[in-house]
């Protein structure tokens, strides 16, 4: 196996080249210990296997950014046989800066002149032979976006892996050469890396290299001082200047540009997109479109995907043992619970897929850094970064988003402190799954002010996120690494369909692999906590009595018909109920008349005796059908009542009661606690749990009504619950992603418990305040809103701790 490393500057089209070489069978992992993506693929060419690794795009090999450190240590530690340097042909001069440093490594290099189409369009003529001769490397032309040059690149890699290096390339660093040579002699390390490269990096104070070759910073400082004293030059500056000068030299010998100074398309687009007056409207439009297409459009798509999941559920239900009237086998309960939990998460796949595809398009087009450019000033005030915009929008800037893709989109933020702060604040944005909970409570307590309350809820979240970000960056994150804001605005490019789809699939796959598995494991735990120890015996006896009465009633009615023989045994009655319920569930999914007819036929074939009672035609059958319908209703009511009892008695119920002393200040009783606890697995379950606790058995009454009529809560309680939900902790899926992106369990735990504490404190404070001052629910919400908005604005005017490189230091 031959190891190939793909290196290049950002925006050189490196990933399109990687996609072209590797096809779809890419392996995505992380570099050890950091959250930088490591993409690799094994490519076969002429009977030899090549392992190609896509290094992060870097301008140089300094210690500045995580990407640069990762790329450098990869080249240092792994036995790379060939380096493929992807270069933007339309911007050769600047790209050479990295090329020189790759050449100095002393390994075979293949230079890929990518984006030749753009270079040709701009009338940039490159003398390939001259370039190859000057740099002593193979040079291959390609257009990654059009899949041009794959065979040539592979052939060049093959040749490079076979030839021995003849004459390694050298830049003449002038006065520094003597000192480089001295250091080379001091380095005894045996490695495949050229000593010259190690010596140069050591002179540049590269910690990583110094450690590797066993030199101290002090010794380098002495050398630098000597150089400065003798030649009056600055080492770093000298290196950079020589590299740029050499690039200039190569450029002038090899490149002829005929359209210098012509206004290009990027400049024209930027005049609009970054225009002082148009920038914000355009940004708003882009965000609105992302939101419409992904959240709204994706939600509509779920209308088409949910029948698929629902039929999957029916398949599972068909496989597990059937219920014997009110006695449902635990395994059946468990299977249905698991299927429901899985469906709740998988339901988001269409939304995620569209979102990830749109993000990939924005990344490829080059709009992302422009978005950061426009909004940086606002976000910096709160310790965030211009690049925090998209994650926060995805997290739910409007009526609802999802923290999972939001946090996954923090990957590109260069500033480590702002990146962590963004990861930790995205969960405060309006999660889509919180919306049913809001509507439930608003429907129950504020049916007439729903619009107003929804406005408060959806806008207050952004203020809260900003306040939390500011708080975290000036306290727990205060000493985290911040980066200089130097960001390239790349030329606009058309994205490739393959590249976009590939990335969208990779991210969805990551979600399924990492998130769904963990959530399923938690679902098992939650099931046990909610089901056991179960309904107490004496209560159970009561339920059984009711069930028996209903069965006896059915029996009496059935006896009066001519088809009694079909249902004179209890097992037959149970089978009939199950058939009735099963048919109803499937009938709901059958859309057309044709589908219904087909369904009827298959049911009749499977149950020739009982099915006529489910779809009755004779008078006798109709009577039985009516009785079964009643029985099925009783069954449902008893099941609900038992479920409610079961939750009240469950471990989670006990835990909810145990928390009452703390939560009573915010007005939460154990039922609310249980609902919040169960919402950790997935937010949707808060509504489901609250609904089933309040299920009082009266059929036809909606959860809103039963909560409102229950009498235990006032609108103030409702607002306290809303406040807690607004601040409440991320769901488990989000926690998993926080762990993935922050690469630390510590931050995951922090992201969980900080919001809980904050939520309890805030809701207790406002609940107590409102109850003692006799406010209405609306007043309480308004007061909260004003406080938060005022605090957020006030913080914007207080200067944040200045960066370490501020003038004067």
């Amino acid at each position: 196996m031959i190891n190939v490393a793909l290196a290049g500057q950002p925006n050189s089209g490196k990933s399109t080249i990687f996609n072209m070489l590797s096809g779809v069978n890419q392996h995505v992992a992380n570099y050890p210990g950091v959250t930088v993506d490591k993409k690799s693929a094994i490519v076969k060419h002429c009977g030899e296997s090549y392992q190609i690794v896509d290094l992060p795009g870097t301008y140089s090999f300094s210690m500045f950014s995580l990407e640069e450190r990762v790329a450098k240590s990869f080249l240092l530690d792994e036995d790379t046989d060939v380096i493929v340097n992807v270069v933007d042909a339309s911007n050769l001069r600047r790209n050479l800066y990295l090329t020189f440093q790759l050449l100095e490594l002393g390994k075979p290099v293949v230079m890929v002149l990518n984006m030749m189409d753009i270079a040709t369009r701009r009338k940039i003529a490159i003398d390939i032979d001259m370039l190859a001769q000057m740099l002593n490397v193979q040079v291959v032309e390609s257009v990654g976006s059009q899949q041009l040059g794959k065979a040539e690149i592979l052939a060049a890699i093959e040749r490079a892996s076979q030839q021995a290096m003849t004459k390694p390339f050298k830049i003449n660093y002038g006065e520094l050469e003597t000192y480089i040579a001295q250091l080379e002699q001091q380095i005894t390390l045996e490695s495949t890396i050229a000593r010259r490269w190690l010596a140069i990096k050591a002179l540049e104070y590269d910690d990583l290299i110094l450690k590797k070759v066993g030199l101290t910073t002090e010794s380098i400082r002495d050398i630098s001082a000597t150089i400065h004293a003798r030649h009056d030059i600055d080492v770093d500056q000298s290196f950079a200047r020589q590299r740029y000068d050499s690039a200039d030299l190569v450029y002038h010998k090899c490149v002829a540009e005929k359209q210098l100074g012509k206004v290009n398309l990027t400049t024209k687009i930027d005049r609009l997109v970054l225009n002082r007056w148009l920038a914000f409207p355009i940004l708003g439009l882009v965000i609105y479109l992302i939101y419409q297409l992904s959240i709204i459009g994706g939600y509509k798509l779920t209308n088409y995907t949910w029948p698929l999941f629902a039929s999957l559920k029916n398949v599972v239900i068909d496989m597990v043992p059937e219920a014997q009237f009110i006695d449902v086998p635990p395994i059946t309960d468990f299977a249905i619970w698991m299927v429901n939990s899985a469906i709740a998460l998988l339901n988001y796949l269409p939304i995620f897929f569209i979102l990830f595809a749109l993000i990939a398009i924005l990344e490829d087009v080059g709009y992302m850094p422009r978005m950061a450019f426009i909004l940086d000033r606002v976000f910096r005030r709160y310790g965030l970064h211009g690049q925090s915009t998209l994650p926060l929008v995805l997290g739910g800037a409007f009526v609802g988003g999802c923290a999972v893709p939001g946090i996954m989109a923090t990957k590109g933020i260069a500033d480590e402190r702002a990146r962590l702060a963004t990861i930790l604040t995205v969960p405060y944005m309006n999660c889509l799954a919180k919306v049913p909970f809001y509507t439930l409570l608003l429907g129950a307590f504020f049916p007439n002010q729903m619009g107003q309350m929804m406005f408060y809820i959806s806008t207050v979240t952004l203020f809260i996120a900003l306040i939390v970000a500011r708080f975290l960056t000036s306290t727990v994150l205060a000493n985290h690494e911040t980066a200089l804001f130097i960001m390239e605005l790349p030329p606009y490019h058309l994205p490739t369909i393959k590249g976009v789809l590939l990335r969208a699939f990779q991210r969805v796959y990551l979600y399924i692999k990492k998130v769904v598995t963990v959530v399923m494991a938690v679902a098992v735990v939650l099931f046990v906590l909610l089901q056991y120890p179960g309904v107490p015996e004496d209560e159970m006896a009561g339920f059984r009595g009711e069930a028996d009465k209903a069965l006896a009633d059915f029996d009496r009615k059935a006896k009066k018909t001519g088809v009694y023989s079909l249902v004179d045994e209890q097992a037959e009655v149970f089978a009939l109920i199950n058939l009735y319920d099963g048919y109803k569930a499937k009938r709901m999914l059958a859309g057309s008349k044709k589908a219904v007819a087909a369904l009827d036929r298959s049911f009749l074939a499977a149950n020739p005796e009982l099915f006529p009672l489910v779809r009755p035609e004779s008078t006798d059958a109709k009577k039985i059908n009516k009785a079964v319908r009643k029985l099925s209703k009783v069954n449902k009511r008893l099941q609900m009542a038992m479920k409610s009892e079961k939750i009240a008695n469950s471990f989670l119920g006990m835990f909810g009661r145990a928390l009452e002393p703390i939560t009573r200040f915010s007005g939460f009783d154990w039922r609310v606690n249980v609902a919040f606890l169960s919402s950790f697995a997935a937010r949707e379950s808060a509504v489901a749990t609250l609904g089933s606790i309040y299920e009082n058995g009266q059929a036809g009454q909606r959860a809103e009504e039963s909560i409102a009529r229950d009498g235990a809560y006032t609108p103030l309680h409702a607002v306290a619950m809303l406040l807690f939900m607004i601040l409440s902790p991320p769901c488990i899926a989000t926690m998993v992603v926080v762990k993935l992106q922050s690469n630390s369990y510590k931050w995951m735990l922090f992201a969980t418990f900080f919001p809980i504490t904050l939520g309890i404190i805030i809701s207790s404070l406002f609940f107590t305040l409102a109850s003692s001052l006799g406010w209405s629910g609306i007043q309480m919400m308004q007061f909260f809103y004003i406080c938060v908005a005022a605090l957020a604005l006030a913080l914007a005017f207080i200067k944040i701790k200045p960066s370490a490189w501020q003038v004067g230091e």
């Binding site: 301008y59 140089s60 300094s62 210690m63 500045f64 911007n91 001069r93 600047r94 800066y97 540049e204 770093d236 500056q237 290196f239 950079a240 200047r241 740029y244 990027t266 930027d270 970054l274 225009n275 002082r276 007056w277 920038a279 914000f280 850094p369 950061a372 450019f373 426009i374 909004l375 940086d376 000033r377 606002v378 910096r380 211009g386 200089l484 804001f485 130097i486 960001m487 390239e488 605005l489 790349p490 200045p802 960066s803 490189w805 501020q806 003038v807």
Partner: protein, 82 residues
């Protein structure tokens, strides 16, 4: 007098569409290396392209590419107007 004022101009002081050459970088450590790597080398030509809509950061052209820099960082670079 005029000469002095010219020499002490900071990158952040350039007006839109004004060109300048870099005189020096008042930075140290990795920060200086980063600036050097990005092409902020004495003698290099810079073009002030525009302010962000909120005036900060700024967009400049250097070494044939477009860079955005915050004003706080642009203050580290001294330029001479062309």
């Amino acid at each position: 007098m005029n000469q002095n004022a010219k020499a002490s101009l900071l990158l952040s002081d350039l007006q839109q569409d004004q060109r300048g050459t870099i005189k020096m970088c008042v930075a140290s450590g990795v920060l200086k290396q980063k600036l050097l790597n990005m092409g902020f080398i004495p003698g290099a030509e810079v073009l002030m392209i525009r302010n962000a809509p909120l005036r900060d950061p700024i967009e400049i052209g250097i070494q044939n590419y477009l860079l955005t820099v915050r004003r706080s960082e642009a203050k580290l670079i001294r330029v001479e107007v062309l």
